[in-house]
Structure formats: structure tokens, C-alpha cells
């Protein structure tokens, strides 16, 4: 049940919160009816995420994991960033309650949407879940 220290720290002081007016890509995932919702804003330079910010409606796990995720992907190539899984985020937070990982760690999904938005604006092909190799660090 209880959240670890790292989760609470990110919940109390989330990094990279806020709307980004001049984003290169915006991705939204989730819903506020019975789940959490995340919007991710990315700036991309040479296929590397140079800046990122987010907005979130959701529980502490959603807030903390999105905050942590933005820290993890910042500076990463799109290809590397897209490979980060929910479990990677959970691990980086020293673990989340089991039930929370599936429903609240949705930032990776939002990132995929944001990257597709970025690629789409540039007329490049979309990525789907299937194209991401099942490799973990």
C-alpha cells in the first residue's frame, strides 16, 4: 500500500511540471473518468529529447512516475526513450504498489503519443507498440 520515499519525494516536488507552449510534440494518454491522464510536451533536437514537461491528473503514483519519467528520458534519443517501460519507471522509484504500475504509470504511453505527434508534424512514419524491440537495458 504505502509509497516509498522516492515516490513521495517526486510527488511532493515533481520535476518538469507545466505546459510547454513551443513544444515540438505533444502527447496525451489516459482519461479522467476512471483513470489517470498525462500530457507530455517534448522538444527534440537531432532525434534527442532536449526538453520535456508534463501535466497530470491522477494519483500520487501517476504524478511521481511521470515526474521521474521526464527525468529519465531527458537527453535520451527518441529510440532509447521509447524503450523505457513502466517497470523501468517503477524500478527507478524503488518500486510502486503492484496495482499502481499498470494504471498509473502512463507516461511511457504519453511519450509514444508525443513522439508520434513530433514525427507526424515532420511527415515521418509513426511508431507503434509492435515496432519497439522487446529489449530491456
Amino acid at each position: 500500500m504505502a509509497y516509498g520515499r522516492k515516490v513521495m519525494e517526486h510527488f511532493a516536488n515533481p520535476r518538469n511540471v507545466g505546459e510547454m507552449k513551443d513544444a515540438d510534440g505533444v502527447g496525451r494518454f489516459g482519461n479522467t473518468v476512471d483513470g489517470d491522464e498525462v500530457v507530455l510536451y517534448i522538444k527534440v533536437k537531432d532525434d534527442v529529447i532536449s526538453d520535456i514537461s508534463f501535466q497530470v491528473f491522477g494519483c500520487a503514483a501517476a504524478i511521481a512516475s511521470t515526474s521521474m519519467f521526464t527525468e529519465m528520458v531527458k537527453g535520451k534519443s527518441l529510440e532509447a526513450a521509447i524503450r523505457l517501460t513502466k517497470e523501468d519507471v517503477s524500478e527507478a522509484l524503488d518500486g510502486l504498489p503492484p496495482g499502481k504500475i499498470g494504471c498509473s504509470v502512463i507516461a511511457p504511453d504519453a511519450l509514444r503519443a508525443a513522439i508520434n505527434d513530433y514525427l507526424g508534424r515532420r511527415g515521418r512514419g509513426f511508431i507503434t507498440g509492435d515496432e519497439i524491440p522487446p529489449m530491456r537495458r
Partner: protein, 390 residues
Amino acid sequence: MERTYFDNSATTRMDRRVMEEMLPYFDQRYGNASSMHSFGREAYDAIELARERTAKALGATTREVVFTSGGTESDNLAIQGAAFANIAKGRHIITTAFEHHAVLHTCHFMGSQGFRVTYLPVDGQGLVDPEDLKRAMTKETILVSVMAANNEVGTIQPIRELGAIAHEGGSLFHTDAVQSIAKLPVDIASDNIDLISISAHKFHGPKGVGALCVRKGVKLRPVVYGGGQERGLRSSTENVPGIVGLGKAIKIGVSEMEDSVARMVAIRDRLIDGTLSSLEGCFLNGHRTKRLCNNAHFRFDLVEGEALVLSLDMKGFATSTGSACSTRSAETSHVLKALGVRPEDSRGSLRLSLSKFNTMEEAERFLGAIGEIVARLRSMAPRAARSGGA
């Protein structure tokens, strides 16, 4: 950091006087109440005193009081017990859609055991309509179970009226009074109650002890089997200190009820009025006056409940989203659903539940803090949620 405890529907702080009464039974009068020797008699006498106090508080006789391990076991013994014992008379049970899980999940289980269960609706204010019960009664109905007061939204049900309807139809009437003891007066005879569940830790007694009052003549099948304690209805070495604590707590609770309730009502009303008037997009769930003296249950637009509770906790306020069960924030409260609250509107729930130990200062401190916390969370929300969530 100073901590304010506003989660007394989950559990309460034990009254010092209750502790003091219990302590000797841990390491001095530690006998088994069934033993013949002096240690045993001390334990037995202590239990019987607690039984008298409990009986008196509920308008029962001592023989009608069965001590259990808590509200959940009391509810299970009442429902499983009465249903299985009266199977020859019929197999229909009536309850409501917004009972505590101890009743609801037991009724689901009874459904799997060949019983038919009717779940009465509640209205948008969190009240059961006696007319609905009248309509639901059949010749097969053996048990009606309606809670005295709801644990999430705090609404108070017309128990006496519902009990009368159940009795007219020839059914037993059970009420889960776990939340209402020492907050609402009760007298099982005039309130038409055959079975009533209580739990000590909800009224400043110890955790892990409760009681089921069983009106004379009502037959139950036990849930656990063993040495035959509690007239065979609840076997196990009696939890003597716990039972002593329950007895003391209910005695104190009932004798000081008037004052305590008045205090809580004043604080509750300040919390409700103060919150509703100072914050936008904030609503009260449950009937404004037919509610427990200690319950304020809000809904906030554009705020997720768990995040709100944890933010409040970081500022020293212990509160809850509604009930102390689920770990999945996405799981919608069955109580709010029963009240007809839309899922998207039940995300931002906050229950403040008081006890006699709370003060008006604590309420003012809360009112001083809540605005900023809600604002911070709302500021993080994505635009669609911010505009469309209401």
C-alpha cells in the same frame, strides 16, 4: 509537525480511560474466562461486566450480546448466521447497494450459496427509501440488512421504519451500526432490530473486538466452530482485555454522547461551510443534515482524491478519500456510484471524519490549508481536465 487526525471513521484513538481499564488484564488478571480458578473468575467477571455495559448501551439483555473480533465478523455472523439458520423459511435477503464491504461481500457470498439477494437503491442524497423495501419484500425474505449510517458519506438511515417493514413481512432485521455507536442513540427493541453489529475501535475502544447483539429467539449458525464460547455462537478464548475495553468504551461513549455530538456537529458544520464557501468546484456528498455528527464528505473538481489525501498528509492532516480499503485509485467507490455520482465526479473525494478529540482550532487550520493544496493540484492538471472535468 503537529498532526490532525480527521479519519475517525477509519479508526479512532483509544480513550486513556479505556486503556487503563484494560491494562491489568494483560499481565495481572490474565486468566482464561473458562478456567475454574481465581484467575479464570476474574476474567469471567470482567467479561460479564462488559456484557452488561454493552447490553445497556444497546437496550439489550446480557444474554443477547455476543462478543466478536470486530465489525466484519459481526456482520458475517449476522448474515451468514441468520441466512444458513433460516434456510428452511426462505432464501431471499435484502440489503442496500451502499453497505460496507463486510455486508456487501458477505451478501455476494450468500448469492453463491443459493440465496437471492436484492440490493435496494439509495437516492442521490444517500438515503434508502422505505417504500423500496416494502416493494422488495417477498414471502421468501428471511433477512433485511441496512446500515444505520454509511461509512463514506455518513448518511443516516430510517432504521426503525425499515425494521418495522422487515418485521411486518416476517423477516429478521439486521443493522450494521459500526459507524453510529456513541453518535446516534439506539434501542434494539424500539428500533425493531434483531441483529446489530458494532466494532470497538470506531468509538475509542481497541481494535480487533466487536459485538453482535442477537435478539432473544433469533437462531444463528456459527461461522467458526470450536470450544463453544459465547453460547456456541463464537468459539475462541475470549479476548478479555479487548472485551473489557469495548465495555468501557461503549459506556463512556454513550454517557458522554450528548456533549461529544454537539462538539462534533459544530466542527463538522464549520468544516462544511468553510470549505464550500471558500473553494470553487467543491460539493458536499450526502444529505446535508441527515448525516453523522462527524462526517464531512466532499467532492472536488479537477483534483484526484489520493493526491489530495497525500498532499494533506504532508501538511499534517490525516484524511481519506472515503474508505480505507482499496489500493487502486482507479477503483470507483461503490457508495458514490450508488448515490449516482458519475465516475468522473467521484475521483476527487475527500472524507473528513471527526471524533470527540478534535477541536475547532484544527478545523480552522484545515480551512487555512486546503485552498492552497487544491490549487497546487489543479495547476498541474492538463487543460481538458481543467476545463471539462466538472
